[in-house]
Symmetry: C2
DNA sequence: GTTTTTGCAAATGATTTGCATGGAT
DNA sequence: ATCCATGCAAATCATTTGCAAAAAC
């Protein structure tokens, strides 16, 4: 089974398990997300998907990304730069967001966040996960200023 | 000197230091932000300020909040719930954001984030600060589900 | 065949911009 | 008197919604 077939099979199983339909749009968007393991906007998804599946619409992209979020294969990321980013890396990691250009960079580090999670629980909150957001300047903007 | 006078004096000094003008809107918005030490939307600021200074406009509120951000007395907070939140607590703290209702809760905890900051530097990023964002359900939404 | 998904067009809602007036220095 | 800040109205942009046609089951 090829890489694409395996990726398609995984999504198919997730959808079937919830009684939802396996459409070409869903398959193509999923392939696109896993081929680029990075943060993308809905517009970027549409641009890439249109090459394979012309006529795909932005509302469908949004609906699909929301569905994928419920399936746990995509995470929403509020970077503050106008559009929401969708992150297909679901392993724990952190984000550095440039205050000038809004670029988002992944940061991998085994930070110890159990204290914060416990503090959230103590405050009556039921946490799913926690991640660090770093504010500052990306390399390009730091060099420019 | 009363509390309000002291708050006004601080802002006046910050503005003068940058050659910017001390206007009644800026003073009133600043007083409002420090009286409620919590996250507010631009609309909420307008609502509160209008009671003291009727006729104040939303563009002015946005301009003022952006200015205050540059002055370092307010921080922007992207909670994902439609509107941006402005946070007048500038001491380091974390945020718990409810995935259902979007409510934001402050979390105080002395998390050790120097590793993440160093990892960001290693990646070429110039960090200003870092904070933890906790995702999950607030007490009300957890009880409802 | 039945129900879900899609695509289109239009609505929504937060934030920003252009420009003339008013206010601070 | 000068120049910055404000208010108004309109523009912008991402995202959502309503509904009929197409596709998956």
């Amino acid at each position: 089974m090829s890489a694409v077939e395996s990726i398609d099979a995984e999504l198919t199983e997730l959808l079937r398990a919830r009684g939802q339909r396996v459409t070409s749009q869903r398959l193509v968007i999923n392939r696109m997300l896993r081929s680029r393991d990075q943060h993308v906007t809905a517009e970027e998804v549409l641009g890439a998907v249109t090459q394979t599946l012309p006529g795909t619409s932005l509302p469908t992209v949004y609906a699909t990304l929301e569905l994928f979020e419920q399936l746990g294969i995509v995470r929403r990321l509020n970077s503050g730069g106008g559009a929401v980013l969708f992150d297909s890396r679901t392993v724990d990691h952190h984000h550095a967001i440039c205050r000038d250009c809004g670029a988002v960079q992944d940061i991998d580090d085994p930070a110890e966040l159990s204290g914060v999670l416990q503090a959230a629980r103590d405050a009556g909150f039921a946490p799913d996960r926690a991640a660090v957001v770093v504010d500052g300047l990306c390399a390009a903007c730091a060099a420019a200023s």
